[in-house]
């Protein structure tokens, strides 16, 4: 069996599928730099580990942010698919990308 004490949340995938077996032994370690997705937090809270979470600043996991960024970029790229202007399309997309990301994460 895998040594659960050594497992960091940041090494885990998002979702109950992996969080569950680890937390069933209450031996998961969360390091200071770990960012947690809402889904992870929801999974963890089922196993009475709220005290761990209270100490952590709740942020979205980096991988989720990256996924969101990719999805937003594709969505914006679609909106610009007929673009004919002189300014580079990607520059204009960036203007919206940052704003929309901040909006989603706040």
């Amino acid at each position: 069996m895998k040594e659960l004490k050594k497992v960091m949340i940041s090494d885990l995938c998002v979702g109950d599928r992996i969080v569950k077996p680890i937390m069933s032994n209450n031996m998961c370690i969360i390091n200071e730099d770990t960012v947690l997705s809402e889904k992870m937090i929801s999974g963890l809270s089922k196993y009475n580990v709220e005290e761990i979470l209270i100490e952590r600043k709740i942020k979205l996991a980096k991988q989720e942010v990256e996924k969101m960024k990719r999805d937003l970029f594709l969505q914006l790229k679609e909106q610009f698919k007929y673009y004919e202007g002189d300014v580079k399309r990607d520059l204009l997309i960036k203007v919206f990308l940052r704003h929309l990301l901040i909006k989603i994460m706040s």
Partner: protein, 271 residues
Amino acid sequence: MQVKFTEKSRLPALSETVNSVIMLFNKGNVDIKKLEAILVKDPGLSSQVLKIANSPFFGFSGKISSIKEACMIVGLSSIYNLVTAIGVMDQFQSSTGKLNFKKFWQHAFAKGVATQIIAETCNIDEPSAFITGLLRDVGKIMLDTYFPDTHEEISRFQEEHNCAYEKSHLKILDKSDVQISAHILSYWRLPQVVITAIEQQGDMEKIAESDLACALHLADFMVKGLGIGNNGGNYIVNFSVPALNAMGLDYLKIEEILGSVDETVSENQFI
């Protein structure tokens, strides 16, 4: 395809009250008593005006109880904007064509808000900024409601040729969508400054000649990028650097304005 937009009988008419208010403002030097006398004859319209005048949008929640007070507190130009907006929106409330009306008006409202915010940010003293943004796409909804077959043909061409709505519109009608909007606004006798701004914002060579056209162009760009509502053609086809320069804005400032537009629209869900 021959669509005779010039035939007045085929164009939707605004209500008598709204028409009277527009005519009163077109004459200039508006007398509050005259305006009040026109509006009180239409209780439905008056109550809608009071409801919005008391909304957080104007910041006088619950303090305005009469049309006279509304004129004095929110100002005559705001009352004009409200009456015109309500009058036009009342004409287009039930869907017969392809457009989702709720989404269309959400998009239009956001464009009105964005045009006004840009105008204020850039010190453009133009009381018609909101109404210019709100009514920029009125030609689309007019086509969808009164000429659904033509609108269907435009959509079909767009799908078949994988092109922007604007290009398809021009191909089928030999007129751009903003030209149609300008035509109907002219028929309704809205201020020339509004009509000119809408026409010029679609013309990349002339756009920088009008501050309001520049503000409208940037508002159109922002609202489409933010994905608020849907006007049936939410693609960003062009971006005018001369319009950006004419407004004295840069990309960072645009991001700031995006925040204000988003916030104002989400706080004021009239549609």
